[in-house]
């Protein structure tokens, strides 16, 4: 069991813009404190480390669990930062031992973090949930109550076939939507849902112009809707899916000491 406290980091952004967020509630309703170095601030708050240990042993993740509260607090702080300008959201669960360590990290990585912030300036992340509906003209999966083995097998076969066709249609839809929206956005990423659902795929879009994205989506949506493919757009979100890791790799001098990247 971990004991003690640490400095949790929510996001990094422009020091001036984030100064306004001093004191907003974070995890466990503890006040958020911007830790600043140069032009950058990291939004932090003090957390109890044993809360995180409890998460590891959790048997259920429900809306009322501590994890749900912490994840929502993380996102709420990152969203408030986003409302004030470009932001680099941290991965959930990043904690430094002391505030001085956070400041040291900002000092050593100032150039790389600032470059990444400038690269993402003006763009926000959007989530497009692509879902394929279950066709109504397909036979029901449940076999008839009559209990004929042949009928059951036929129904089962038809259901499996329908499922496979749905998956193919979803793949086709995702490919086309991706191709059509690509010219309208800066970057695109695709991911499968965490829960393993086979009827849904997420397309992540890094967009400069939300209205242009929404307008470009309309004809695509109209085309795919009759085929049972629904498209749900939400955002703007912090750019979780478009951060470049290479700018944040450890940098060392010949003496082995970490240093600010040139």
């Amino acid at each position: 069991m971990t004991t003690g406290t640490g400095y949790y980091i929510y996001a990094i952004g422009d020091a001036e813009a984030l100064a306004e967020l001093d004191g907003i509630p974070g995890i466990d309703d503890t006040a958020v404190v911007p830790v600043t170095h140069g032009q950058l601030s990291a939004l932090t708050s003090v957390v109890h480390l044993d809360s995180f240990s409890t998460v590891q042993q959790a048997t259920a993740v429900t809306e009322t669990s501590w994890l749900a509260h912490a994840v929502r607090a993380h996102e709420r702080v990152a969203l408030q930062a986003l409302d004030r300008g470009p932001v680099l959201p941290m991965r959930f669960g990043t904690v430094y031992a002391r505030g001085a360590d956070v400041q040291d990290m900002l000092r050593r990585r100032h150039a790389a973090l600032l470059a990444e912030l400038h690269r993402l300036a003006g763009a926000t992340e959007w989530s497009l949930k692509v879902r394929i509906e279950q066709s109504t003209d397909q036979p029901a999966e449940a076999p008839s109550a009559a209990g004929s083995g042949t009928a059951w097998l036929l129904a089962r076969q038809a259901a499996l076939q329908a499922r496979s066709q749905r998956t193919d249609r979803l793949t086709e839809c995702v490919e086309q939507v991706r191709a059509e929206l690509a010219p309208q956005v800066r970057d695109i990423a695709v991911s499968r849902p965490l829960d393993g659902a086979t009827d849904t795929v997420r397309i992540w879009l890094l967009a400069d112009d939300a209205e242009r994205l929404a307008a470009a989506l309309e004809p695509v949506r109209a085309r795919w809707s009759p085929a049972g493919c629904t498209l749900e757009l939400t955002g703007p979100w912090p750019p979780y899916h478009f951060l470049r890791g290479d700018a944040l790799e450890p940098v060392t001098t010949p003496t082995g000491q970490p240093e600010v990247r040139p």
Partner: protein, 116 residues
């Protein structure tokens, strides 16, 4: 520093984010400062795997082909009916062949099915 503000959008589109949506969006994403001394409090990979298992709904599991309960006589009426039919057919075969049903052939499930 002058960076364009990126927050001039209606916030209405942000509503309706379920916990599953949120976890999917942020859980293993975001900046990781490699090589720094960070208190390593969360094994994110482990946690992600755990969440993946926990938030998988019955419907999802079914789509993934995890539908063993459909064939479990305790959980599915159709399976029970099939078990019963199977038992009757087997009995009929033994009768036609003029042999007695071997004692070891009666599985506990068959017995349960026949009694329903």
């Amino acid at each position: 520093m002058t960076l364009p503000n990126s927050g001039n959008y209606p916030s209405a589109s942000r509503s309706g984010d379920t916990l599953a949506d949120l976890l999917e969006r942020i859980l293993d994403k975001g900046i990781v400062i490699a090589g720094d001394v960070v208190v390593n409090i969360l094994d994110i990979e482990l946690l992600t795997l755990k969440l993946r298992l926990l938030i998988a709904s019955v419907d999802t599991a079914k789509q993934m082909g995890i539908d063993w309960w459909q064939d479990d006589p305790f959980l599915s009426r159709d399976a029970r009916a099939l078990q019963q039919e199977n038992q009757q057919l087997r009995q009929r075969v033994y009768e036609l062949e003029g042999t007695a049903q071997p004692a070891g052939d009666t599985q506990p499930d068959d017995v349960r099915g026949a009694r329903e």
